[in-house]
Assembly symmetry: C2
Homo-oligomer: 157 residues x 2
DNA sequence: TGTTATTGAATGACATGTCATCAATATAGC
DNA sequence: GCTATATTGATGACATGTCATTCAATAACA
């Protein structure tokens, strides 16, 4: 098998296995990996419209209407009409959502600990540099870059 | 953001973006990335039961009943009862499936060319080694290893 | 043999991920 | 101001991905 083909499947395999680990870790918390990402993004990057949230998500392109639906139904998120634009909806965490976010951060710390235990800092940095090169300029890559920057809450603008 | 966390999102981003590229390339062929993987595995590793197919797939765990359903409906695959075990179903490509496999290989060559154009051989080898370390021992990692070995058709046993 | 446990595949259920479409609202350009 | 265009979010459609359950068939074994 060509190295490029192997890369393709190893990236897929790593994503699948990582997601399964996260799925297991998040089960007691009661949210899915995608839902966890939405909650973390909203916690770090303040109230956002659907489109703006979508631009920060790696897990999905476009506007994550239905992903948000489930979180609103679980009363972890609130939808509020935007003030100057009646098309837009502003999403923010509820108190329950903020509590959930604490548990999510703990789970993520566990996962990151596992990654750091499996791979050396040099290996991690090397993979990061290469994968970043591959996704840079594409939607998911842009989202990672924006998220990598320091969290910016809307109320800090 | 911690490097380990960045790694997590970069792997997700690379999988998503790669999948979108493959989705676009495969659209004219008329199969999805997962369907293409099934066809390629069956072409390379001969007739297989559902479980055995599942063990070679990176895209999915368990037995890919429904994934196969679609391919049988498209007459790209054939289901045949196994001879000594009436529970098992043996899957093999039809003539149409074998024709489709040629187109799929062409598309994959394009994608691999794009990967090789984006990343150097050293970068690819390095990422492969690290990701392999991460997924080794897990189902998706085992599938990649089995697939990486030379294709073994059932009729060559 | 007869009983129990295990396996293989199919299926129901539910959340994702992608695409296309639609209604309401804003914006641009005249 | 008015019309054409663009944007926002919701929704239908369809294939994935995961889990649990079910049913038939086989294997294990007392």
């Amino acid at each position: 098998m060509k190295p490029a083909e192997q890369l393709r499947f190893l990236v897929l395999a790593a994503q699948r296995e990582g997601n399964r680990i996260l799925l297991d870790l998040l089960r007691p918390v009661g949210v899915s990996p995608s839902q966890a990402e939405v909650i973390r993004v909203l916690a770090d990057h303040g109230p956002l419209s659907l489109v703006d949230l979508g631009l920060l998500l790696v897990c999905e392109t476009g506007s994550p209407s239905r992903l948000v639906d489930g979180l609103v139904a679980a009363t972890l998120l609130e939808r509020m009409p935007a003030v100057g634009d009646r098309r837009r909806v502003i999403l923010s965490l509820t108190d329950a959502g903020r509590e959930k976010e604490v548990s999510i951060r703990e789970v993520e710390a566990t996962l990151h600990g596992f990654i750091e235990q499996s791979l050396s800092p040099v290996e991690i940095a090397s993979v990061n540099a290469t994968l970043h090169k591959f996704v840079s300029g594409r939607p998911a890559g842009i989202a990672v870059v924006k998220r990598s920057a320091a969290p910016v809450r809307a109320d800090m603008h």
